[in-house]
Assembly symmetry: C2
Homo-oligomer: 260 residues x 2
């Protein structure tokens, strides 16, 4: 099943995506949703960020190839974490499918990080790994856009990863992806620049939910992005970056020159 948050005629609602048609309805997938009559063509709506999380968690250093690439660029150590490495993103940077990533004028190393993002469906506190996936509504795609040069001297990543427009999320939430075949593929202007097996994380979704919920209550709509593998070329205004996760969708955003 695919949950979509969209705007039509000035109203933002949740629907279910069936092919290129939206089944509309009332409510949301967290508190409850009821189907309404009719179908809406996907092409007639504005696709919104699938959820604005109350808290936006992310995994740091969660793929071996990414740790190797970023440490080789002098950003951080090559140490592999001994336990899930939990960080935060600010919701102020979120943008939706097709909205532009604004490249700051003093940016020289703006890079993508294509990530699987977990959307929490129900309250979770002190859940065991074996029960953790029951608290997942589904999965979407996150582009953890990073100014790699700024990251070198930005301990909290506040500027390097949270500047306005640095957080594309979407296009929708898939409840039942195929983990065994899932691949993350990144393209710049249609040319493939990265590909990795999405499931080859150092710590998996259930491990992160168990680790976070040991100390913090996870709430419906919270998001945990699971980290990226590999590296990225430096991106320029005028390019288009696409993060595809097979079985989930394609998150596509153009790059445009920022005014600052």
């Amino acid at each position: 099943m695919r949950w979509l948050r969209y705007t039509l005629d000035g109203s933002t609602r949740w629907g279910q995506l069936e092919g290129d048609q939206i089944a509309p309805g009332d409510g949301d997938p967290f508190a409850g949703w009821t189907a309404a009559a009719g179908k809406i063509p996907l092409s007639s709506v504005k696709i919104e960020v699938p959820v604005v999380p109350r808290t936006f968690y992310c995994a740091g250093k969660n793929y071996a190839g990414h740790i190797a690439a970023v440490s080789a660029a002098g950003v951080y150590s090559a140490d592999v974490p001994a336990e899930p490495y939990v960080a935060y993103r600010a919701t102020s940077a979120l943008i939706a499918l097709d909205e532009p990533i604004l490249v700051p004028q003093d940016s020289r190393e703006l890079q993508y990080e294509g990530e699987l993002a977990v959307v929490i469906g129900s309250r979770a506190r002190r859940v065991a790994e074996g029960d953790a996936l029951r608290h997942v509504l589904g999965y979407t795609i996150y582009n953890d856009v990073t100014e790699r040069g700024w990251q070198r001297r930005d301990i909290t990543n506040w500027r390097a990863k949270n500047s306005d427009t640095f957080s594309p999320l979407g296009p929708w939430i898939v409840t039942d992806p195929n983990w065994s075949t899932m691949e993350t593929i990144v393209r710049v202007d249609g040319v493939e620049t990265g590909r990795f097996r999405t499931a080859e994380m150092i710590f998996g979704v259930a491990q992160f939910i168990a680790a976070i919920s040991r100390h913090v209550t996870l709430h419906p709509g919270d998001v945990i992005s699971m980290g990226a593998d590999g590296d990225s070329p430096n991106l320029r205004p005028g390019q288009v970056v696409e993060v595809e996760i097979t079985g989930v969708g394609i998150l596509r955003n153009p790059l445009a020159a920022g005014t600052d």
Copy 2:
């Protein structure tokens, strides 16, 4: 003026505090508020967290005495930042006046950090220091509760500073404090354990607003906590911690044993 968010008869609203009486009204101080008739005794309401920020920023290493104390405890280096050090807190940890801080069972060094917190009143992007304070609605108090032992190996502070109940905020928002006389005073079980001049920050409110808004849009209701000075004893269940900022108020919370 003092803005208060309170619950009475199951309804949460904004009012203005006048002595020990609340002037009720409709709306909020960000989008607009209109006074209603009558007065409500402060003692008859539940005081709520004054605002749940969309993004909760905080200043790191912003008082010389705190940097000296925490670096002496082996948590981080004694380096003084060359520019405003911006970090985040998760809103999932927020609690209000009088709500208990739950001490995790495996915590040995739970400590307070009494801080002045700035509440943003209007959208701010690329504002100069000289214009920054126009975007402030007012000031409240934050206790940046920290498990100092966990902080040593928690690079992102996710667990050390964001575990459930580690973020008391309140009790209300004061629009016109007296900066020249303002002191932060902390008491444990009524005994003073810390006192510092609140204004003696390394980087001030206007500098933080200018630095953050250079890259990120600040929104109404966002909070920036300005950091603490000095250090703290280790706290135990059964104690009560009070953070007073003169001219703002007293944020008081009991400590209780957590179940985990």
